[in-house]
């Protein structure tokens, strides 16, 4: 158990582990997208996190925010489309909240998630219940807020569980945004691919911290 804080370099290592995990999840994410979209979500995420990996590997970070923001900018620039904008904005706006932060603790993690949620929701206009990645992000963000008094390892475990719950809930929802909207009730039973990506990201963070 880790009951201390994460340094900028440890956050860099954590992001690199997310990059590897997402790159390796291409087939799983594309399969999920074939049920609801045009089946290219995994490829887009793979492209984005390959670019983010190269960008982050070259960093000698002085702040926590620097690592997250560099990840966000690389995702946005390399992915394009709606998913590039929202995935990039998650890290970029979350990172902006931690520009001055040199040690990640549970309150800082919560600030990251609050800013990430605000950035994504202001940009795309999705609300919880719309069957998008926002459902998983808000699951993590609410768990983060409930964990500000806990240790960092407990906070990471909680946000991973929150993101997983949020993703699971999207299975029962009807898509109201994006291309999946055209499927209407046929979208029930399948998780939103973006929510699945977000859940993988936060669970990989938890594995980095707690394993």
């Amino acid at each position: 158990m880790l009951d201390r804080t994460l340094s900028p370099n440890e956050v860099k290592e954590m992001i690199l582990s997310i990059c590897d995990k997402i790159i390796a999840s291409e087939a799983k994410l594309s399969e999920a997208d074939r049920k609801l979209g045009d089946g290219d979500h995994g490829l887009g995420m793979q492209r984005g996190f390959t670019a983010a990996k190269a960008q982050v590997e070259a960093l000698d970070p002085k702040s926590i925010g620097e690592v997250f923001s560099a990840t966000g900018m690389a995702l946005m620039a390399s992915m394009g489309g709606a998913s590039g904008a929202v995935m990039g904005m998650l890290y970029q706006s979350g990172g902006t909240a931690l520009n001055e932060c040199e040690a990640l603790d549970a309150p800082a993690l919560s600030r990251f998630l609050d800013a990430a949620r605000d950035g994504v929701c202001n940009l795309g206009g999705a609300k919880p219940g719309d069957k998008t990645m926002v459902d998983a992000l808000v699951g993590a963000q609410e768990a983060g807020q409930a964990s500000v008094d806990k240790s960092l390892s407990e906070a990471f475990a909680a946000i991973a569980a929150g993101a997983s719950d949020g993703m699971e809930k999207t299975k029962a929802m009807i898509a109201t945004m994006g291309r999946a909207k055209t499927l209407g009730e046929k979208s029930i039973g399948h998780p939103d691919p973006g929510a699945l990506s977000v859940s993988i990201m936060f669970n990989t963070m938890n594995e980095y911290v707690n394993c």
Partner: protein
């Protein structure tokens, strides 16, 4: 599906290079996906368009004198990322500001919004007009949920003419908003296009069914109907436009665009035009000009759309000015 490609994943990059080759010096690449007129008049208020590729000739084929000054191009059917939009913005900016004009799709709106913030941070003034002409995509009370389809062709042409005469960005915004607000479209899908990288169809539709009001990526429209004659279809589509909130009636003058979504032939478009003309004549609505052909497409998708732009004394002179581009040229 037989399709002339090299590496399917490089289709967007290669078509953009080909587009620059087509313009033969008058258009320059300002970065991957970002293209602009090589020469833009000093002090011009700039017009930037953009969106996903795969729908040629839009949007990147609408660059030219009297049309757009530049375009930001995404991957196939995907919005361009903010840095590409920013590259294109810098390339067209002449210090008088830049108007972003593009179709109302979630991915485009988000990426252009981020790019507008990045441009503002560099001191470039940006305003936005979204194109939302598809009457089948949401009720008139909810225009902000409507998609942009083929009506963008007359809108971009009018915007290009407006950008040449506008003295500032505010004037351009108001002229382009008028062009947008006076344009209505509705489409019909007969069969899907395919995704170049995978060969998969973009949506499913039964052999004897047609999607009235269906979007160019297969988005939901008014409903699925049985195949019908060209005249019956034209009646239905024109009714949908005239029933919308833009009053078009006796004595009015309109531009008419019959747009093929890709593989629907000129023969079919002309047969539909004949009926549209008859309906409008009967209602004493005058056709000021006609546009016809594959201008907003989705690969080999079959189907077409009808657009009307109601012209007033402000828009008429803008329509009358010459323009040239790969997609639309007016002498």
């Amino acid at each position: 599906m037989k399709k002339l490609l090299n590496d399917p994943n490089q289709a967007a990059a290669e078509l953009i290079d080909g587009l620059v080759d087509y313009y033969n010096g008058s258009v320059t690449k300002a970065g991957p996906g970002a293209i602009a007129l090589t020469e833009i008049a000093a002090d011009k208020v700039a017009l930037l368009v953009g969106g996903g590729t795969g729908h040629e000739p839009i949007y990147h084929g609408l660059i030219g004198p009297g049309m757009a000054d530049g375009a930001a191009c995404g991957d196939i059917f995907a919005a361009p990322p903010p840095n590409v939009i920013l590259d294109a913005t810098r390339a067209v900016n002449k210090g008088q500001g830049v108007l972003f004009l593009y179709g109302n799709y979630a991915g485009d709106v988000m990426n252009f919004k981020i790019a507008a913030q990045l441009a503002a941070a560099e001191g470039i003034r940006v305003e936005t007009v979204l194109i939302w002409d598809d009457v089948a995509s949401a009720p008139p009370s909810d225009k902000e949920s409507r998609r942009g389809i083929a009506g963008l062709i007359p809108i971009v042409k009018l915007a290009g003419a407006a950008a040449e005469k506008a003295t500032d960005l505010e004037e351009l915004v108001s002229l382009v908003t008028l062009a947008r607000d006076n344009t209505r479209s509705v489409g019909v899908a007969l069969s899907p296009g395919s995704i170049p990288a995978t060969g998969m169809p973009t949506f499913e539709l039964d052999e004897d069914s047609i999607g009235i009001g269906m979007g160019i990526h297969g988005e939901q429209g008014v409903g699925v109907d049985k195949m019908m004659t060209a005249d019956a279809l034209a009646d239905k589509l024109v009714d949908l436009i005239l029933a919308d909130d833009l009053p078009i009636g006796s004595g009015d003058e309109v531009l008419v665009l019959i747009n093929s979504l890709g593989s629907t032939t000129m023969m079919e478009c002309l047969i539909v035009l004949k009926r549209v003309k008859a309906i409008l004549t009967e209602k004493d609505i005058k056709i000021y000009d006609v546009l016809l052909g594959p201008l907003v497409t989705c690969q080999e998708m079959a189907g077409l759309s009808i657009s009307f732009t109601k012209l007033d004394e402000t828009l008429k002179p803008l329509w009358d000015t010459p323009c040239s581009s790969l997609g639309y040229t007016k002498l």
